[in-house]
Symmetry: C2
Subunit: 248 residues, 2 copies
């Protein structure tokens, strides 16, 4: 992908995802946003609320990728341990962030800002806050790690706030053609097209829609002209096999 | 969790998840099913269609956990490389599975069983097929690794077929109480309850429902009587704080 490729990974922290209680909705949102910024999402991991596991994963991923995004575990309760774990991963003390403290003091009435709520004002020393326009309690950035909430509406607002500040590359573009030709007939020609366009990533995704089986052929890359040429080859392949290509 | 704990991990294979094109729906299904079998899901990873990455992850996870479940990448097209990668991870040749071959011969008309379709009959040598009642092309099990389709309806049918044969433990039970007391007020008492019941896992999950902020308190464990006792303590805590506990 070249030396200029910017990469990222996502760390989804929370027992509720691994128990099947909660359907994760954050990965797909982050993934789309990173694509728009021309950043390659290389991996995502879902891990439990266990200190050693979080620390090890933060350290492994931040060494591998240009950016790491975590979701979950930054609330006021005993199971919210992400901030402390990220501090430990960086070997930094977890301290009250003065800006968060000031914001909480102006929001909560006297006596309401208890110890649990103060935990949400704590970050690794030197972190930059990520604003939370939904429910106030901020996320933060330390080094190349962005620590965000788990609630999708809050996570999305936080991610939208930092997205445009990320150093990326040319956006990843895509073209999609659907048809009802069976994958087993498309496969040979499609593989040949992939070989002719090694800089593009061609995927074949079967689907069922209103009771009909179909397949979506997705071409991804950074060069619009090359994408369009390869797309025409895919459309021709479909026609050769007696199908009707539908652009999506 | 004791010596008898049975663990699992999930490997979601596919560029379409990492690009944000497709919302993964398989993890939540597998997670719930494993919980019913008393198997602890320790981790899930989403990785791209890259040979070395798939091989390394299969080998890392199968050494760590009792069971590994993969989804995606077992179709007939050039981007379906999971079976070959799992074979490589095990150091086994990828061969035509005689049962799959026989099934395909009886299904496809003469001339229809081309090279691409034959790829779907190939498994690491010695694998056991996982039936696919939806669209025929099977998954397989080799060692402690279960290789399944990415399409949710197919994946679910495959997983349902193998689930009851997994060696698990007593199922993980849960109790859920919702209320509208702010997390920041619940936190202290909830942390104390968690300390009193170290064998239970108590999670606090804020939500918005019909415009109202609330929090779901989820207790998970294997002993129903202890869960019920701890649940009563949580309900009492909510009442003490002026709230109304609602069992879910």
């Amino acid at each position: 992908m070249g030396a200029a490729t910017v990469t990222a990974s996502v760390l989804i922290i929370g027992n509720e995802i691994l128990s099947g209680r909660t359907q994760d909705l954050n990965l797909v949102y982050i993934a789309k946003g990173l694509g728009e910024q021309g950043i390659v999402l290389r991996e995502a991991r879902v891990i439990p609320d266990i200190v050693d596991v979080i620390v090890a994963n933060v350290n492994e991923l931040r060494a591998k990728d240009d950016y790491v995004f975590t979701t979950g575990g930054i609330g006021p309760t005993h199971d919210d341990i992400t901030s402390a774990c990220v501090a430990r991963a960086f070997g930094l003390p977890l301290v009250v962030h003065p800006d968060a403290h000031r914001m909480f003091l102006s929001y909560y009435k006297p006596g309401e800002l208890n110890e649990a709520r103060m935990r949400m004002a704590m970050t690794p020393e030197g972190a930059t806050l990520i604003p939370n326009p939904i429910s106030r309690a901020p996320g933060f950035r330390i080094g190349n790690v962005f620590v965000m909430a788990g609630i999708p509406s809050v996570m999305q607002a936080m991610f939208d706030g930092v997205k445009s500040g990320l150093k990326g590359g040319p956006p990843v573009l895509s073209r999609t053609i659907a048809c009802t030709v069976p994958e087993g007939l498309l496969a040979k020609g499609l593989g040949e097209i992939q070989e002719r366009w090694p800089d593009l990533d061609i995927g074949s995704y079967p689907f069922t829609r209103r009771g009909t089986f179909g397949v979506a052929l997705v071409l991804r890359g950074r060069d619009a002209a090359r994408l369009d040429q390869a797309k025409e080859e895919v459309a021709d392949l479909i026609r050769t096999l007696g199908g009707a290509p539908v652009e999506e």
